[in-house]
Amino acid sequence: MIQLEHVSKTYKRNGTETIALNNVSLQINKGDIFGVIGFSGAGKSTLIRMVNYLEKPTSGTVLIDGNDVSDYTMQELRKTRKNIGMIFQHFNLLNSKTIFHNVAIPLILAKTDKKVIKERVMELLQFVGLEEKATNYPNELSGGQKQRIGIARALASNPSILLCDEATSALDPQTTDSILQLLQKINQAYNITIMIITHEMSIIQKICNRVAVMEKGEIIEEGNVLEVFGNPKHSSTKNFVRTVLQDEIPENIRKKINVIPGSRLFKIDFNDESNELINDMIRNFGVTVNLIYATMNEIKTNTIGHMVIQLIGASATVNQAVSFLSTKEIYVKELAY
């Protein structure tokens, strides 16, 4: 478990102070895939480096499995770091060494027996699907393959936490997906807690169960991915959500809406448990429903839908229909034409 309590970080350079983190509190539970999203300069990089103490907080506490990291001696800190794997945007592999050696490095540092190293490295290379590249060098690999090697290296010392620092930002969308699948596999197979920082909402959407949104060194929203996606509060969060969820009426559809006198337009956000909703509404209240626009988006194993409908009927029945929807814990908002 990772806990950050009121963590702040200030950099002093040439007399000017920059606040990278401002009173950030966060809890990441065992087995979570926790995403931190924010634009560059939001403090994500500093935040993730607090966990393995590559950056020391100016104030506040970092607790790993309940232990305050600031109490550790250098030696204890190194031991803790062996329990926290890290992968990087630019992979940070040793270009002068073979793939085998790159994966073996954490074990060499721990002075592991050579035989054990060989077995473990081959097992890891097999896990990431690159056992045939053992004798190759990093510059002979593609970006996606390099990141797989980075992952194998991070897993070599059997960590319980894996930190991913923009791990897919240098990769194309397809390669990104395959790396994300690998991370999910790691999370499930070894029950490793994963913390991901990214500026891409699609990564959060695909594999995270919890998310924190950062802006200007602060966490502005945090929680279950579905909740944060379904009901974003801050404008930055809304912007991020919009990059993956199309919930606005596209302009050419908006232009073609037939404005029927007495009709009203509603936007409805729903989830996959509200399948029979519209049917019930029509049956119970006798309103006419025109579907203007609808989308469904997949977030991990859940779906979240957005729908714009036109309701036609007597104003009292329309009001009743709308309050019926609202009681089903569905977010309903009236739109202007």
Partner: protein, 220 residues
């Protein structure tokens, strides 16, 4: 044209003296300079074992020694040389200033080579819980190896040219031959031969250095 007063034995002895001076001072200079260069990298502000006292003391000293042309260094430290090797003339006497000349040079070159290593590599090492020694040995040195070899190649060639001035303290070597026979006794033939030999030496040293560096860098 092909007449000369220099015997073959004399010429061979000069070559041996040159090899001896370059080889010995390169060896001792590397033993001093390489660790010094690494220390400069790790103790600098933001380094892995930051130590501003050491850095601020050693850095100007290196600059000081490096600012002296070898011919001045050679004569300026004669009392020190006499203290170390009990004499101020001959090949042994030349080696003391050569070492003092090349050590800070190697330190500076090594420093630059290691600074070229991506900070990400150091961060990766730290994230794995590597000790400072492990970071140097398993990450910095291997990643900088190609550049380090080229640095030592440059240092070797500089040493070769510095040995030519060792003639001023009777150090011997090919450079000494060129000055005391070729120049001072108008022996054009031996002058020509030493020039050709020096050119060949430099070519060979540089080629070997390039080849080794390419091999460890795996540029192919």
């Amino acid at each position: 044209m092909f007449q000369t007063t220099v015997t073959v034995d004399q010429f061979l002895q000069a070559m041996v003296d040159t090899f001896y001076m370059v080889g010995f001072s390169l060896l001792v200079g590397s033993i001093i300079g390489i660790p010094l260069g690494i220390l400069l990298v790790i103790t600098r502000p933001g380094g892995i074992i930051e130590n501003s006292v050491f850095f601020k003391m050693v850095n100007p000293v290196i600059n000081m020694v490096r600012s002296l042309p070898f011919i001045i260094l050679l004569v300026a430290i004669i009392p020190f040389t006499r203290l170390i090797v009990q004499t101020s003339i001959g090949t042994a006497a030349a080696i003391v200033p050569l070492i003092i000349y090349v050590s800070p040079f190697i330190a500076r070159l090594v420093e630059n080579s290691i600074l070229e290593v991506d900070d990400g590599i150091i961060e990766a090492a730290e994230s794995m819980g590597a000790t400072p020694m492990q970071t140097i040995w398993y990450f910095l040195v291997p990643e900088a190896m190609g550049s380090l070899i080229l640095s030592l190649t440059t240092a070797t060639i500089s040493l070769l040219s510095a040995t030519a001035m060792a003639g001023a303290v009777g150090g011997g070597g090919i450079g000494d031959l060129a000055i005391s026979y070729g120049y001072e006794r108008f022996d054009s033939f031996i002058m020509l031969v030493t020039v050709v030999v020096l050119i060949i030496f430099v070519q060979v040293i540089q080629s070997v250095g390039n080849w080794l560096a390419a091999k460890v860098r795996r540029e192919n």
